[in-house]
């Protein structure tokens, strides 16, 4: 029997993986992928709550989240391409011009 707790645990695990990815990776592409994981984790818990509470509003929100994620990826990838053209690297620590 798959309970709500199992879904939420799965969501938490995916979210943690994403968080660690965002924190630790220096490669901007990896950061972007980890961000996608964060969004996916939240989508899982939305759908799980929606299913167990019988409220379809949660599933509706998931569509919005996917939409936003797609837009974010499009912009993020464009930025990464530009960054590569400029700095010929996609390491996040190379972006230091904002430092004191």
């Amino acid at each position: 029997m798959i309970t709500l707790g199992s879904y939420l645990t799965l969501s938490g695990i995916i979210f943690s993986i994403g968080l660690v990815g965002v924190m630790t990776s220096r490669n901007v592409l990896k950061v972007l992928l980890s961000l996608e994981l964060l969004l996916a984790a939240s989508n899982v818990s939305f759908v799980a709550f929606s299913k167990f509470n019988g409220d379809y509003a949660g599933q509706l929100i998931v569509f919005f989240v996917i939409l936003v994620a797609a837009a974010e990826v499009a912009i993020g990838l464009a930025i990464i391409v530009l960054m590569y053209r400029r700095l010929s690297t996609i390491q996040a620590d190379e972006l230091r011009t904002m430092k004191w």
Partner: protein, 619 residues
């Protein structure tokens, strides 16, 4: 009836002249002097008309008119005038003697390129002085009191390129500020005490009803504080030092400010607010002795002075001392009487001295002058009239007024009488000395650079005011001034004994001076006779030296300490501390901005967790 419009015109005519000159005629010498003279003459004529109106009304009219000026929550200060016999008398002196001096200045300042500025200042001074005379409340009086101080500063330092003149102006201003502080304290104290009946007030007429209800010791403090202002403005010991240095100004200024009007303001204040002083015997005694000491000290100092204007300045000090003494002895009538006659003959003497200085091309040392009577007969004779009047020779005006004071002193306090009599004797002596040395002798000026120029009598624009003032000095004792000022008081009988003694003293003084100075001498014979005391006199009883020492050491040290406190504590510690705090705070926290996106994300997540925990906790 007295018409208020006339008073207002008399009040503001000199101000209008001053404004006109400063705005439009600063380049134009002739018109600026004419405007100034027109202004003061308008004032004079209006005062004369008001005088006749007051003179005809019986009992003497008193007129008060005021406009609300400054509105505060619980306090309204009026701008107005209080016209009574005392005020109109003083107004006549200020505008009348002022007119003579203004006209005279037209001749005296003729060669000065910046004379328009001079006439603007002179008009401003006349306006401020009229303000003091007419003010009906203490705040207005104080403002004009300060204005007089300011214009006096401007006029003493008129030749500001000369360092001694600039210093003298600053000195006069500073000394007056010092005394005005006490004056202001007195005004405020009196105001705070006047909370009886109709409520607090600055107005003389209201205060007159309040004063009888005040505690005697508080009234003494008020009177002494108010007297502080008089000490400064009327140059009493120990704040007399500015008046002598003020002789650096142009001579008409010395005549107007430092003889006839400004220094008389203190006496006038005492007389006008005598109701405050009268109940306090302690204050009155203090005032009387201050006056007597000033009178004697100045008379002694005048004997050793060699500058023609400074001698006259010392005699002014001495006479002011006599007036203050008279008021201290409870005789505002005698004090004001002497003030009036003194204004006539002192202005005359100063203008005469100015005429001599003008003729000798700014020579002021009396030992470089000789036998001027033949060359400058009008100046010489009018100067003689002034000298005799000042010495108190019958029947000139000085005799009557000085005798009134001496009679008062004789009746009340024999110590003060002796001091005053001695001072009058010395007055006759040094005035005789001045006259013999400068005007006497057969050969005309021949000493040093003066002989290069042919000495001539001054132009008519200068001699006519001299003659006008000489006539006033001569007949001033017969025109019933004291009766007009204080009609309710019985005219004092001439005390024959006192009159005789003072006449003898005056004649003795003049005679002695003739014995010593009647013959031509190259230098002062007193120098050898007085010996060591002469050095003391030369140093003016060391007042300036002591003050200089005090200012240079004690006050300067204090100022340096305060400056250090300000620099080290306030600027470096307090103000600098705030900037250092901001700067070091910024330095510390800017390491958070390391530019790593992940680091920001970490902070963000930590913040989110903390917020989450916080929300959990408060549930």
């Amino acid at each position: 009836m007295v018409s208020p419009q006339l008073v207002w015109v008399a009040f503001f005519a000199p101000l209008v002249a001053c404004v006109l000159i400063t705005l439009f005629f600063l380049k134009c010498k002739t018109s600026s002097s004419l405007i100034a003279i027109a202004g003061i003459l308008t004032s004079f004529i209006c005062s004369c008309l008001v005088f006749t109106q007051i003179f005809q009304s019986n009992p003497p009219a008193q007129l008060q008119q005021s406009l609300p000026w400054i509105h505060l929550d619980t306090l309204t200060i009026n701008f107005g005038f209080l016209m009574n016999p005392l005020a109109i008398m003083m107004l006549l002196i200020v505008t009348g003697v002022g007119s003579a001096i203004f006209i005279y200045s037209r001749g005296y300042m003729d060669e000065d390129p910046s004379s328009p500025r001079f006439f603007a200042f002179l008009s401003l001074f006349a306006f401020s002085m009229i303000g003091i005379v007419l003010s009906n409340n203490f705040i207005q009086l104080f403002i004009f009191w300060e204005l007089v101080g300011l214009s006096s500063y401007l006029l003493i330092g008129f030749w500001y390129a000369k360092p001694s003149a600039a210093d003298a102006g600053v000195k006069a201003f500073m000394v007056n500020r010092l005394s005005d502080f006490g004056f202001l304290c007195g005004i405020i104290l009196l105001w705070s005490l006047s909370d009886i009946g109709a409520g607090r007030s600055f107005q003389f007429t209201d205060l007159m009803n309040v004063v009888p209800h005040l505690a005697p010791h508080m009234l003494t403090i008020v009177a002494l504080l108010l007297f502080c202002g008089v000490i400064g403005k009327s140059a009493q010991v120990p704040l007399h030092v500015w008046l002598i240095d003020a002789m650096e100004g142009p001579t008409p200024v010395s005549a107007l400010i430092h003889a006839a009007t400004m220094v008389a303001a203190g006496i006038y204040l005492l007389a006008r607010t005598f109701f405050i002083f009268a109940p306090s015997t302690t204050a009155l005694t203090f005032i009387a002795y201050t006056g007597a000491i000033t009178s004697l000290m100045a008379a002694i100092l005048a004997v050793a002075e060699n500058d023609i204007k400074r001698i006259l300045a010392y005699s002014t000090l001495s006479q002011l001392g006599l007036m203050v003494m008279a008021l201290g002895l409870g005789g505002p009538m005698q004090g004001m009487y002497h003030l009036t006659t003194h204004a006539f003959f002192k202005a005359l003497l100063f203008l005469g001295a100015g005429s001599v200085i003008y003729a000798l091309h700014h020579e002021q040392n009396i030992w470089n002058m000789h036998g001027l009577l033949k060359k400058m007969p009008i100046t010489g004779i009018t100067f003689l009239v002034g000298t005799l009047a000042l010495s108190g020779i019958f029947p000139l005006s000085g005799f009557w007024s000085k005798d009134a004071i001496l009679g008062l002193a004789f009746a009340n306090n024999s110590t003060l009488y002796l001091i005053a009599a001695l001072a009058s004797g010395l007055t006759a002596f040094y005035m005789g000395r001045l006259f013999w040395v400068v005007f006497w002798g057969d050969s005309p000026v021949h000493r040093r650079r003066a002989n290069e120029h042919e000495v001539q009598e001054s132009p008519a624009v200068m001699t006519i005011p001299l003659i006008f003032l000489a006539i006033l000095s001569a007949i001033g004792g017969f025109i019933g001034i004291p009766h007009f000022l204080f009609p309710q008081q019985a005219p004092e009988e001439l005390n024959l004994k006192v009159a005789l003694i003072s006449s003898v003293i005056a004649l003795l003084g003049l005679g002695f001076s003739y014995l010593i100075y009647g013959k031509r001498t190259e230098a002062d014979p007193l120098v050898t006779k007085l010996g060591g005391f002469y050095t003391v006199l030369q140093n003016k009883f060391y007042f300036d030296i002591v003050y200089g020492w005090y200012v240079n050491t004690i006050q300067q040290t204090l100022a340096i300490c305060l400056a250090r406190f300000e620099k080290e504590f306030i600027v470096r510690f307090c103000v600098g501390g705030v900037t250092n705090l901001a700067r070091s705070g910024g330095k510390t926290f800017r390491y958070l901005q390391n530019g790593l996106v992940q680091f920001y994300a970490l902070i963000f997540i930590l913040g989110a967790i903390l917020l989450f925990l916080f929300l959990m906790l408060i549930k």
